[in-house]
Symmetry: C2
Subunit: 250 residues, 2 copies
């Protein structure tokens, strides 16, 4: 059996927990990692709190191949991710001179101490540089520290992508029909038991007042996925329902 790589994401930000801001990075990272065969296995959303960040990084870095963090690397007093991650590794923050140089060029006389904070990364870390901002993210051991703003998080992820090991890609197909989950739950369970190493998910939806379901088969073996979808198709056909089959777009 193919072994997939495992990742965790730590979302750092009071604004996500308070309901002020809708997180968009979880969906993005979960989908992008899956494409290269890395399973996002858990997500923690935590406050801008130094001890909490340190403990969470230390706990998760030993448990997963990769840990990503988003948020808290800006210039203000509540941006404490870089310092906290440095402390999690017993490292000091150091000025990254090439980033400082870019900032000097970009900000000119508006470059101040607060902005220069963003050019500091832990000793031993390597910067994650993008074209859309002079302030870098960074990688320290297996931990990747990204910005919280989705556009910047995405650019940083694209920049670090070549550094990730690639597992067998996770493939996902779905079949959907206007049918209640309970109508085929029993048969679905039998199919799942027949294909124990391929994940079958069943998700209800509501459209224009009608109830439907999507059955999603997800794994690394395309043949098994097609067989699962084919077996579900037979059930739905036997109930004379219209249906649709497609690759799962994430």
């Amino acid at each position: 059996m193919n072994r997939n790589l495992s990742a965790a994401l730590i979302v750092i930000g009071n604004e996500i927990l308070s309901g002020r801001t809708q997180d968009l990075n979880i969906k993005f990272l979960g989908g992008e990692l899956g494409k290269i065969g890395i399973f996002l296995n858990e997500v923690r959303i935590i406050a801008d709190n130094e001890n909490k960040i340190i403990k969470t990084v230390q706990e998760l870095k030993d448990r997963h191949n990769y840990v990503f963090t988003t948020g808290g690397i800006g210039p203000t007093h509540d941006d404490i991710t870089s310092l906290s991650v440095a402390k999690a590794f017993g490292a000091e923050l150091e000025l990254h001179e090439p980033s400082a140089k870019k900032m000097r060029e970009h900000y000119g006389s508006n470059l101040n101490e607060a902005r220069l904070k963003m050019a500091h990364i832990p000793s031993g870390a390597s910067p994650i540089e993008t074209k859309i901002t002079s302030a870098p993210g960074f990688k320290i051991e297996n931990v990747f520290v990204l910005a919280g703003v989705p556009m910047i998080a995405k650019a940083m992820f694209d920049a670090l992508l070549p550094e990730l090991s690639v597992g067998p890609p996770i493939i996902s197909r779905y079949i959907e029909a206007l049918l209640g989950e309970g109508d085929i739950a029993n048969q679905l369970e039998k199919i799942q038991n027949k294909f124990p190493d391929t994940d079958i998910g069943s998700y209800p939806f509501f459209r224009k007042g009608e109830i439907g379901l999507s059955v999603v088969a997800k794994g690394t073996n395309p043949e098994k996925i097609n067989n699962i979808i084919y077996e579900v198709e037979k059930i739905i056909k036997s109930k004379n329902r219209k249906y649709k089959i497609d690759d799962d777009v994430i």
Copy 2:
């Protein structure tokens, strides 16, 4: 100092981790809990995995006043939340007869074993019933188990609301201006130090190609919040920028 109540949320679902589905319940619950003085202090997103659910519930229930879960209480094989939460408390799943009765009325001859699974709650739990579905959520000790579909999660939250203790409401106001975070980071830090028990957050935004920031003051003391916003207003005025002040709508 007022002590606020603390909550955690466990989002259960492979579809959130894989990037298939955008979670909407975190933002909803974080905002609603804040209104009644309960801080959402951490969120865990985990897979549909029995051991993981059991361990996470056991860890968080002792650490927070309330724990909420969303997802995994439907009729299919991948809906294992109810059984896993029961096991976390050493309880058995039992048929909740009033919910079964509602289901019999609703489904008639389409009621099958899979659907009846949804009328089972742990021994000692109390059901969370809504008008939009016959399948209940439930409360066991300080853990509230809700559906994952946002519309149903919302109805269940409304139904359980009277059971929650209420803390001093968390109030939040913001001031926004077309100004870089780095331009006022230093002054913001001084204001934060002057009001240590009120949370000041600074969040950049990008609109029509322009960079701006929102400074959010959040806490339980309206006077301190107004003083903070007033001090930030003075700084922005001194820089001759337009600005806007409002209650933070969550």
